[in-house]
């Protein structure tokens, strides 16, 4: 993972002191409420329904065992002994006290963590494939570029007060595990006709009230032009994005209003004037950052271990977990392991302090001290030798972190909803429990095949319901929680937005409705179709009929 220099460390340390002073001045009445709100959001602090909420950055999802331990300790010292992993690969504390946040940030800075720009109308995040550096089909590892973009964006003096939030995602594999097509800027590592590696740039993707799939603004960009091009996009957005209506202020609205061609013309006119300047990215800087992302010291003989195959044959539950929760690794003898934060009846994405400490320990023993967070609210141990898989599975099982549900209905993405979030219109956690209680037969879930269920408690779509195979949006109808279903969304390389099924469903009937949808799927599917494929093939009518009967 990226190794902080003295200057990197200084930045986070000085930022803590800056925010400490801002907090002091705010509590002394020297900063108006609305100004402090902007400042605290740029340090990740929300004032939420029950308590403040602090969003800590996990840049492009990479986290060390030391950092996991620090999170465990912080959750004990300042919070209620647990944390929550988000769909942006970040981690949240739900109960910090406003006046203690500078101390939390100081504790985080000691382990090279921070909450800089994790909220606010600024560049908030650079999301990345959680299997970066692991999958064989990567053009190149995207993480060094994610780090380069992160530094360019951090405390950027020109772009701290954008019309609205801004999120970037980058992937190096054709398989898009970073939802790049629904980010403000999506970056794909690609090869051009002569085999050189560069970037395809997409712009204007996003969810929320006006979901849109990103459009290609530039099919090929040389590596050295990455930052100047991003700068040009941000400058055009900063100057021309709408500031009159917060629901129409994202870059996707501007791109849609101008049309991609006119938008591109503006960006490239700006880019022409800056691309030869100091933003040109030297190969030496790329190599400096890449040096932090070299493969770990893999054991050359890892694939020769015979115990793994023996255990696979002898232990059925272990074999199921391998199939469900682990990924093939380009290094022979290794696999990547998902730590599913989707335990039965627990809030998706939540992890206790004891679990954090345990995962840190497991990362040290089995994965070179590193872990990843995924935008599906799980964790990953990226580099586990096959001989270690069985003991790891046993330990994860004892911790409640080995539920073999990855890629199934019970791997749902779910926002905290009405229980916690002041923006929410509906409960989500009780619905998640309802679904889990209904669908306990794992064999049935496996037979359903790949299923991405995503549930948001409001139109802000933090759980990305628009791009769920099944999406559920909680709405408020006369003070009660109701749920609108969408079908056929995807956040992957075949990105699509789900279509609304029909009238919203009362809370008590959500699981039953899911059952009906799945019945139709099982009846109608052909060969190895996923649910998503069947929806795309047969459309929504058969599903509508089953759920609503003849009246809609």
């Amino acid at each position: 993972m990226y190794a902080y220099t003295e200057l990197d460390q200084k930045l986070v340390d000085e930022r803590v002191e800056q925010y400490r002073d801002q907090t002091r001045r705010y509590l002394a009445g020297e900063i108006p409420e609305d100004e402090f709100r902007v400042l605290r959001l740029m340090n990740g602090l929300y004032i939420q329904r029950q308590a403040p909420m602090l969003r800590i950055g996990v840049p492009y999802g990479v986290i060390s065992s030391e950092q996991l331990r620090a999170l465990a300790e912080i959750s004990r010292k300042y919070d209620k002994g647990y944390a929550h992993f988000t769909t942006r690969q970040n981690v949240q504390l739900n109960w910090p006290k406003l006046e203690e946040v500078p101390d939390i940030l100081a504790d985080l800075a000691r382990v090279q963590m921070h909450a800089i720009q994790t909220s606010g109308s600024c560049i908030r995040s650079v999301a990345c494939d959680h299997l970066a550096g692991i999958v064989a089909d990567e053009v190149e590892d995207p993480r060094p570029y994610a780090e380069i973009i992160r530094q360019w964006a951090t405390l950027h003096p020109e772009f701290a007060y954008l019309p609205r939030k801004f999120k970037i995602a980058i992937t190096g594999s054709r398989q898009d595990r970073a939802a790049t097509q629904v980010h403000d800027i999506g970056v794909h590592l690609v090869r051009n006709a002569t085999g050189e590696v560069g970037f395809e740039i997409l712009v204007g993707g996003g969810l929320g009230r006006t979901p849109m799939i990103g459009k290609v603004i530039r099919p090929y960009l040389a590596k050295e032009d990455l930052l100047s091009y991003l700068e040009a996009i941000l400058r055009v957005y900063n100057l021309l994005g709408r500031r009159d209506n917060k629901y129409k202020a994202r870059i996707k609205i501007l791109v849609d209003a101008l049309g991609i061609d006119a938008f591109r013309n503006k960006v490239e006119a700006e880019w022409e004037r800056i691309k030869a300047g100091p933003l040109k990215l030297p190969q030496a800087e790329i190599e400096r950052v890449q040096a932090s992302f070299q493969p770990p010291a893999y054991a050359a003989e890892a694939a020769e271990d015979s115990s793994y195959a023996q255990k696979l044959a002898a232990e059925r539950e272990f074999a199921v977990w391998i199939e469900r929760n682990t990924f093939a690794h380009k290094q022979p003898g290794y696999r990547a392991v998902t730590i599913a934060l989707k335990d039965y009846l627990k809030a998706p994405g939540d992890i206790t302090d004891a679990q954090l400490d345990a995962v840190a320990d497991l990362a040290d023993r089995y994965s070179f001290g590193l872990a990843r967070s995924t935008h599906e609210q799980n964790l990953v141990l990226p580099d586990v030798a096959q001989a270690d898989l069985f003991p790891l599975w046993q330990e994860l099982s004892a911790l409640g972190l080995a539920r073999p549900v990855v890629g199934t209905l019970n791997d749902m993405i779910c926002c905290p909803g009405l229980d916690f979030c002041s923006l929410a219109n509906a409960e989500t956690l009780s619905v998640a429990r309802q679904v889990q209680e209904r669908f306990t037969d794992l064999d049935y879930l496996y037979d359903l095949g790949e299923m991405q269920l995503k549930m948001s408690g409001c139109i802000n779509a933090c759980a990305h319901h628009h791009v769920g195979h099944i999406g559920i949006l909680g709405v408020d109808k006369k003070g009660e929680s109701y749920y609108q279903f969408t079908l056929g969304g995807s956040s992957r390389e075949d990105a699509s937005l789900g279509k609304v099924l029909g009238k919203s469903i009362p809370l008590a009937q959500v699981a039953a409705t899911l059952e009906k949808l799945l019945e139709v799927f099982v009846e109608q599917r052909q060969e190895d179709e996923r649910f998503l494929d069947t929806v795309r093939r047969i459309g929504l009518d058969p599903f509508k009929e089953r759920v609503y009967g003849t009246d809609n």
Partner: protein, 159 residues
């Protein structure tokens, strides 16, 4: 109104705002863009320096040629959340080579001063209610600067 120039409080400000009624005033006059465009000749005829007051809606290309006529460009920030002025100041300096004073006016307070400075502002009008002498400690509060900007054009990897 507290005026900070080059990171220090100054007690005197020769610049005065003009409107339709005070068009014929002499001395250093700060003129809103629309008024300038309507009354160039009348304003140019008076003695004293000219300053241009713009806001986030300006198209700098439209006024680029006239910039050398001004000793001052003031950029108005209508709210704490409005960030257009940062790009405008940067473009004034880096694109159009404006060498006069670039002054931030409107919603100007301690916690945005350093970003403003980095983007090319060298003067700041801070409302009295928001001013305290400690305000200047905002400059240089964070010493690690990843990006190039007006103050230092080279990104950190080029230094």
């Amino acid at each position: 109104m507290a005026l900070i120039i080059d990171q220090q409080l100054v007690s005197e400000d020769s610049w005065q705002r003009v409107d339709e009624e005070t068009l014929t005033r002499e001395g250093d006059r700060l003129v809103p863009l629309a008024l300038w465009q309507a009354s160039r000749d009348a304003l140019s005829a008076q003695s004293g320096r000219l300053g241009l007051l713009i806001d986030g809606s300006v198209d700098l290309e439209e006024i680029a040629e006239e910039l050398p006529r001004f000793a001052l460009v003031a950029v108005h920030f209508p709210s704490f959340a409005d960030g257009r002025g940062f790009s405008l100041a940067r473009l004034l300096r880096e694109r159009y080579g404006f060498a006069g004073q670039v002054r931030a006016v409107g919603e100007v307070s301690r916690d945005r001063l350093e970003y403003m400075r980095r983007c090319g502002f060298d003067a700041f009008e801070v409302p009295d209610a928001r001013y305290a002498p400690e305000l200047v400690s905002a400059f240089g509060e964070i010493s690690t600067l990843y990006q190039g900007a007006v103050d230092e054009p080279r990104p950190i990897y080029r230094r």
